[in-house]
Each structure stands twice: as structure tokens, then as C-alpha cells.
């Protein structure tokens, strides 16, 4: 439930004050016309009380309707009926109560048309206000619902983007373990632990959670250790970071897919040894991380697109920071560079 725009007590008090005001106006007018205090007060209080009750009836009956063109005619008819009832009730009660006042009967008869008109206007005013109230409340609720739905879908999308673990990576790692078991069981065991730690790291992280660069690099290291078992004969990874940026926060599991992309790109686009470098540094308040991998500009077709790894990182950064300029790629000579910029955390 959304919070009402104005509290119910405030509305009730304002409603009461509204009728008290008209009661005072009527009393003053009647005193001015030459009636005594008692008559004026009785008339004013009974008249306004009847309007107040009718207005309340009008208000409560309208909550059942949605504002719309088709219901307008019903509302108008209701206002007319209620104002007629008010008029009849006022005439009947006031005749009895103020019977002894001289000249009152004539006064009442001559003011009936005014009373009827005022009653109708009051009912219409209540109707319009109620209508407006229902409209605004509903719109606020709809907007709230929309916002909730968007937030939910954003969270789902973020978690899907985060959890796209490559089955190819997993099966190849398991195959390496299987190969190690026969000849180097100690290494097989240590690789099982690395793989478990890495997998645990990818599943337990909360969405949208920020971690320090130090933690993120630790998780990355687990991944790199596994890749080194598989491709140690070809792959060299350099990580450079200075002390001022290790405490900077960034969304968890952002770095690993980019490095994975760079490694795959480097390993499959060239033969022979490759070096993938990761360099982190502060640029003003932003953390810049640069990932470089070699590729073959002559034959490469992958360099033209960014591949799924990078497009999902880009989408994640957009969902988190509402910015599209946080992931950049460039190529120079035989080197492909991916740069991500992380704004300071709020």
C-alpha cells in the first residue's frame, strides 16, 4: 500500500472547518437580516449539518467509481438527488424548530431556491474534489507499481548477466583435472580447490554489491590460476595496480568476464605465447582499468565486434550507473585494449 497523499485526520478536520465556516457566514447574514441569535444559529447549524452529511454520502459513494466519462452523468444525477433531499429535510426540520419566530416561515419559503442552488453546488464541489483525489491516488499507485516492476526486472537482468558462467570453461577445467589425477594427483587436488573457490565466488555474490578492487583482483586470480593450468605453456598475465586504487569500489564480478574475453581473444586469435595485461589506476575520482591482449589484425574478425563478454559488461555498467561511456575498446597494431571506468561509489 502506498502512503496516502494527506492523512485521513487532516481531511476530516478540513471538512469540519469548511462547514463551520459556512455556518458562521450564514449566521452573520441572518443576524444582519434582523433575526435573533437563537434562530440564526439554529438555522445555520441545521442547514450546514445536513449539507455536511449529504456531502459525506456523496464522497463515500463515489469511491466505488473510477473517474470517467460514463460515470459523470451518474455523479451529476446523484448530486441533484442529494441536493433535493437536503432541501426537503431542511424545510421540514427548520419549519418545526423555528416555528415560533415571527416572519421565519416567509423567510424560509423565499430562500428555498438559494438553499437548493447552494446544496447542488456543494455536492458538485465534493464530487469534483473526490474525483480528483481518486485520480491522483490511483496514478501515484500505478507509477509506484511500474517503478517496482522495473526495479525487479532490472535485478533479474543483472543477476542473469552476472551468472553467465561459460560451460566450455567448466568442462575444459574438469578435463584438465581428470588428466592431472593420473600423473600429478597433488596438482589435481589443488586445481579442484581453485575451481571450487572460483565457482563459490561467482554464485555467492549479491547483486549490485560493490567490492574493493583488491577483493575483485583476488577473485580474478582464482580464475587466472585455473587458466594457467590449462594454458600455462602459452599464457602470461601481468597485473599492475598502485596502492591508491586498491580500496576503490567496483561492482562485483565485473573484471573477470573482461579478462576472460581478452584471454580467449588472445589465445584463439594467435599462435605462440601471449601476454595479457591488467592495469588499474586512478584518473581523478574515477578508477580506470585497462586490459590488453594481442591479436592478429590481418585475419581477425573478432576484433570488429566486442563479443558477448563485453556487451554484457557494458549492459551491466549501464544498469548500474546509467552511463554508456564506461566501457571503451580500441585497437592499435596487434594490440586490443578494453578500458573500463568506474565512477566513485555514492
Amino acid at each position: 500500500m502506498t502512503k496516502p497523499l494527506v492523512s485521513h485526520t487532516t481531511i476530516a478536520l478540513s471538512y469540519l472547518a469548511w462547514w463551520m465556516f459556512w455556518m458562521a457566514v450564514q449566521t452573520y447574514a441572518m443576524l444582519h437580516a434582523g433575526f435573533d441569535w437563537e434562530t440564526a444559529l439554529t438555522d445555520a447549524s441545521i442547514t450546514q449539518l445536513i449539507y455536511a452529511v449529504a456531502g459525506y454520502t456523496m464522497n463515500t459513494s463515489m469511491h466505488a467509481y473510477q473517474p470517467g466519462r460514463r460515470t459523470a452523468i451518474f455523479v451529476l444525477m446523484r448530486a441533484i438527488v442529494l441536493s433535493i433531499i437536503c432541501l426537503v429535510a431542511q424545510q421540514f426540520i427548520l419549519e418545526q424548530v423555528n416555528a415560533k419566530t415571527p416572519g421565519y416561515e416567509e423567510f424560509l419559503a423565499s430562500t428555498l431556491s438559494i438553499r437548493g442552488t447552494v446544496g447542488l453546488l456543494m455536492m458538485l464541489l465534493v464530487a469534483i474534489l473526490t474525483w480528483f483525489w481518486v485520480y491522483v491516488t490511483e496514478r501515484t499507485e500505478t507509477e509506484q507499481r511500474k517503478e517496482d516492476a522495473m526495479k525487479l526486472s532490472r535485478e533479474v537482468e543483472l543477476s542473469q548477466l552476472r551468472q553467465q558462467l561459460q560451460p566450455h570453461f567448466l568442462f575444459n577445467s574438469l578435463n584438465s583435472i581428470s588428466a592431472l589425477v593420473g600423473t600429478r594427483p597433488e596438482e589435481a587436488r589443488s586445481m579442484i580447490h581453485q575451481l571450487s573457490d572460483f565457482l563459490r565466488g561467482t554464485v555467492k555474490k549479491e547483486d549490485g554489491k560493490l567490492v574493493t578492487l583488491e577483493e575483485e583482483l583476488k577473485h580474478l586470480q582464482l580464475y587466472l590460476d585455473i587458466e594457467k593450468v590449462r594454458f600455462g605453456h602459452r599464457l602470461r598475465v601481468e597485473i599492475l595496480q598502485n596502492d591508491e586504487c586498491v580500496a576503490h569500489k567496483l561492482p562485483s564480478l565485473l573484471l573477470q568476464p573482461i579478462v576472460e574475453n581478452a584471454i580467449k581473444f588472445g589465445l584463439y586469435d594467435t599462435v605462440g605465447e601471449i601476454t595479457v595485461s591488467v592495469k588499474a589506476a586512478m584518473e581523478g575520482t574515477m578508477l580506470h582499468i585497462e586490459i590488453k591482449n594481442p591479436f592478429d589484425p590481418e585475419t581477425s574478425v573478432t576484433a570488429r565486434g566486442t563479443g558477448f563478454g563485453l556487451s554484457s559488461v557494458k549492459r551491466r555498467l549501464y544498469l548500474l550507473y546509467h552511463r554508456n561511456d564506461l566501457l571503451l575498446t580500441s585497437q592499435q597494431g596487434g594490440e586490443f585494449t578494453t578500458t573500463i571506468k568506474i565512477p566513485p561509489s555514492i
Partner: protein, 244 residues
């Protein structure tokens, strides 16, 4: 003695197969290769009876490597691809082993290969005709003399049928590949390559003009200045792709 070559870019994956093969006294591993380039050379040199071939490898994949080999040996694929991806080629390959695989599964593959020896050899042409990986949409791997050339798809001007081969025309001249036009038509992006004639598949980016020739037939003029004929249906298809 049976000669075997292992082709896989991960040494540990090869050592796995090596270990399983050590139980077979009559099988000798004559070479191990890190990629398809080494593979092509080693096969030409040793003429093995059987190869174990990984699919995802540097520069060229396992299928592309096989295409470059004349009279390819029998192949057992070893791959971490999932079942879904494997469906594409399982009916044409002798066997495939999904990593990680057990000794029992491995032995079964060897038995299968032995039982088929002397029988009908595997149909590699059929296998390669019907399989393709996503990257094959982006490049064509060819052989020129003893060199292997990777042609990024945007450098290809057009393809031309040439007996059992397809001529791949580029700025540097043409390359030959033993494939059918149908294969390329299926593999390449239909928005980029249009079959404008029974014998021609044209790169749309190369087209500069459509010229009217005699008797309501048409010619496509390429940026290189080459003119290629358009068939009636090819002309209609081209118009449809161009939205005119």
C-alpha cells in the same frame, strides 16, 4: 602398427588421451600438435591412420583444419562443446568424445573405429559440407601452395563455382576450395552474400551498379571493375535484398 596424431591446444587434454592410449600396445602416437597449422603439416608428413581432434583451437578450428587436408584420416573429435552443438556433426563423424570423458567411453570409441576398419571409410566431405561453427560465417580458410591463408569475409569479393571447387575471388586474386556453392550460401550471412546466379555468390558491399545487358538480362558491376552475370531469379533476389 597404427599411427595416431593428437591435435589439441591444451597439453593436459592431450596427456589425457596419451594416458588412455598407453593401454594399446599396437597404437603409436607419432605426433602431437598445438593447433591446426601444425596439424595440417603433421598429417601430410606422417599420414596417420587416426587422429584425435579438438574443435576449438587457435586461428582455425578443427573443421577448417580438416578442409585443408587432402585425403583426411579417420577422426575422433574430442571437445567440450555441449550436446546441442554436437548434434550438427555427430551423424557424419566416426565418433566424438565429450570432455571430460572416461576410459570406458574412450575404449568404446577405439572399438568402434576398429570394427569399421576395412569397411566403408568415413565421409569427410559430407561431414564438412554439413557442419559449420559461428566463426565460419566471418572467415574462409584456404590453402595457397604450402601456406594457409585466413580470409576475413569482408575481403572476399565474390565466389564462383568451378567444377568440384569454389573459386574465392579477392583483391589479391582467387583461391580454390573444395566445397559447394550450396555450402557457402548456407554458411555465409544472406544479407551480405547473395546468390545472384547458379555459379555466383556476390558480396553485396562490392556491388556498384546493376547494368542492363541484351534481352532483359543483367550484369552486376563490382568495385573491382569485374562484371558478373545475374540470372533471372538472382536478379529478383538481389532486388529483394536491396529493397528496390
Amino acid at each position: 602398427m597404427t599411427k595416431v596424431i593428437l591435435i589439441d591446444d591444451e597439453p593436459l587434454a592431450r596427456s589425457m588421451v596419451k594416458e588412455y592410449l598407453s593401454a594399446y600396445a599396437d597404437i603409436a602416437i607419432v605426433d602431437e600438435c598445438n593447433d591446426g597449422f601444425e596439424g595440417v603439416k603433421a598429417i601430410a608428413q606422417h599420414k596417420p591412420d587416426l587422429i584425435f581432434l579438438d574443435i576449438q583451437m587457435p586461428k582455425i578450428n578443427g573443421f577448417e583444419m580438416l578442409e585443408l587436408v587432402e585425403n583426411p584420416p579417420t577422426v575422433i573429435f574430442t571437445t567440450a562443446f555441449d550436446e546441442y552443438a554436437i548434434q550438427a556433426f555427430e551423424q557424419h563423424a566416426l565418433d566424438y568424445l565429450l570432455k571430460p570423458f572416461s576410459k570406458e567411453r574412450f575404449d568404446k570409441a577405439i572399438q568402434k573405429w576398429r570394427s569399421l576398419q576395412g569397411g566403408a571409410p568415413q565421409d569427410t566431405t559430407e561431414l564438412l559440407e554439413n557442419t559449420s561453427l559461428p566463426e565460419e560465417r566471418l572467415r574462409i580458410v584456404v590453402k595457397k601452395g604450402n601456406n594457409i591463408v585466413i580470409l576475413p569475409i569482408h575481403t572476399v569479393h565474390y565466389l564462383e563455382a568451378y567444377d568440384d571447387y569454389v573459386k574465392i575471388h579477392t583483391k589479391e586474386g582467387f583461391y580454390l576450395k573444395k566445397k559447394t556453392m550450396g555450402h557457402f550460401e548456407k554458411v555465409l550471412d544472406p544479407k551480405q552474400f547473395v546468390r545472384i546466379h547458379r555459379s555466383y555468390l556476390m558480396n553485396l558491399q562490392e556491388l556498384t551498379r546493376i547494368e542492363a545487358a541484351e534481352k532483359d538480362s543483367h550484369l552486376a558491376l563490382l568495385r573491382s571493375g569485374t562484371r558478373i552475370p545475374l540470372s533471372q531469379s538472382g536478379y529478383a533476389k538481389l532486388k529483394e535484398v536491396l529493397g528496390i
